[in-house]
Subunit: 151 residues, 2 copies
């Protein structure tokens, strides 16, 4: 039920973006940029839990991840962008465009943990952030395993 | 006074990041990604004000810009990253590393308008969003004119 709703939402955002005539190479570059920006933010959180913990630094990083996770960037997986080059050739697997249920599952898991990370970061509890980083990182890996080709 | 405070904050974030031993090529790639993610979000807002307006779409895009604007990404301008390659060779001008007062000025203007954009987006007032998009875009351009080399 939930994944049907998500798919409907994805389809709706997709329609909006298609209308706006986004170039495939821009869509690929934008999603690569958004993931890399989240990667930077994860690296910041990791540096904080493994080194000197700075509450504000972690909040800022978590807010970036949350905003991107909730941005509806699924709309950037336009038809025809299973191949193509943004900053570099896309590594998306064809399954992302065919396994709608699987995509819905990993997308919802990621969103849930990204929203939770922002909440946990706001408390300033370093141990809780470390634990949540593990959960959030697990949802990144889950999607990469299924939908992103290895280098 | 305000720019002195900002510089102190920038210096503090810089110190944090240096401690975490960020590689120069990562710092350059991360800042290129963050700007490109904001560029995507600006394009979404533009498509909404010029086409069919979708309040939620604009809120999501504005939230991404706001989160990145407040992320302290100035810390990614590490010493030695005036040259170097992330996704592509950096186009930062050497002035960014020497004109602290000028950088503080454009950074504060951008932050102010990015925060305002998130507020305006939440109202769903398309005309106000269009006006704010102009102000926000002006602060992007202001920084590019002074601190980013043309292609």
């Amino acid at each position: 039920m939930k994944s049907k709703l998500l798919l409907a939402l994805l389809a709706a955002s997709l329609a909006t973006t298609v209308t706006a005539q986004v170039k495939p190479e821009d869509a690929i570059k934008w999603r690569q940029s958004a993931y890399t920006t989240m990667g930077w933010s994860m690296a910041r959180i990791k540096a904080n839990v493994e080194g000197t913990y700075n509450k504000d630094d972690v909040i800022k990083a978590a807010n970036v991840i949350q905003a991107i996770a909730n941005s509806g960037m699924g709309a950037l997986y336009l038809p025809g962008t299973d191949k193509g080059t943004g900053w570099e050739p896309t590594r998306v697997k064809p399954e992302l465009f065919t396994n709608a249920e699987g995509v819905g599952k990993v997308a919802m898991a990621f969103n849930k943990e990204a929203n939770e990370m922002a909440k946990v970061a706001a408390t300033g509890d370093a141990a809780a952030v470390k634990a949540q980083m593990g959960k959030l990182g697990g949802t990144c890996k889950g999607c990469h395993d299924d939908f992103k080709a290895k280098k």
